[in-house]
């Protein structure tokens, strides 16, 4: 899977989702010359 949801009890049981890709291109936003 490229997406995993994690709940951590030491972080007030907040649930967050992680998405992972093999490369940054097309996945990370292009920051240009910021």
């Amino acid at each position: 899977p490229s997406e995993i949801t994690v709940t951590d009890i030491t972080s007030n049981s907040i649930t967050v989702t992680f998405r992972e890709a093999r490369c940054a291109e097309g996945f990370f936003r292009d920051r240009g010359d910021e």
Partner: protein, 120 residues
């Protein structure tokens, strides 16, 4: 915008070059999550991800159980500072948004490193 609960954080995640063997889980990972994720969330995510990848390599049979995954811990580091090359251990309770503001401070994906936590 920064500070919004739903804002996204982009991470480039690599094995710690000094603490992880080259033949280990050395691939660079490109990860997106929400700004409210903590370092503990990230550590747990990594344990799950690596366990799943190891399980897939073994063909899915006799893989790692979720119980074993939760036992396996990773420490997360950031390489920051003017000179670079200095790895700082991140406290598990820090949110990634705070890590970004406190250590990174640049408009680039947050670069973090991981290594298995040493047993006491």
């Amino acid at each position: 915008g920064v500070g919004e609960a739903g804002s996204e954080i982009e991470l480039v995640f690599r094995a710690h070059p000094l603490l992880v063997e080259k033949d280990g889980y050395s691939q660079t990972r490109f990860v997106k999550t929400t700004a409210n994720a903590t370092v503990d969330h990230l550590s747990k995510y990594l344990a799950l991800r690596i366990a799943l990848e190891e399980q897939a390599q073994r063909g899915g049979a006799d893989g790692v159980t979720l119980g074993e995954v939760s036992e396996k811990q990773y420490t997360i580091y950031i390489c920051a500072g003017a000179a670079g090359g200095q790895y700082t251990t991140l406290n598990g309770s820090l949110t990634l948004e705070l890590v970004n503001e406190k250590y990174w401070k640049v408009s680039k994906p947050l670069e973090l490193y991981y290594a298995p936590t040493k047993e006491q």
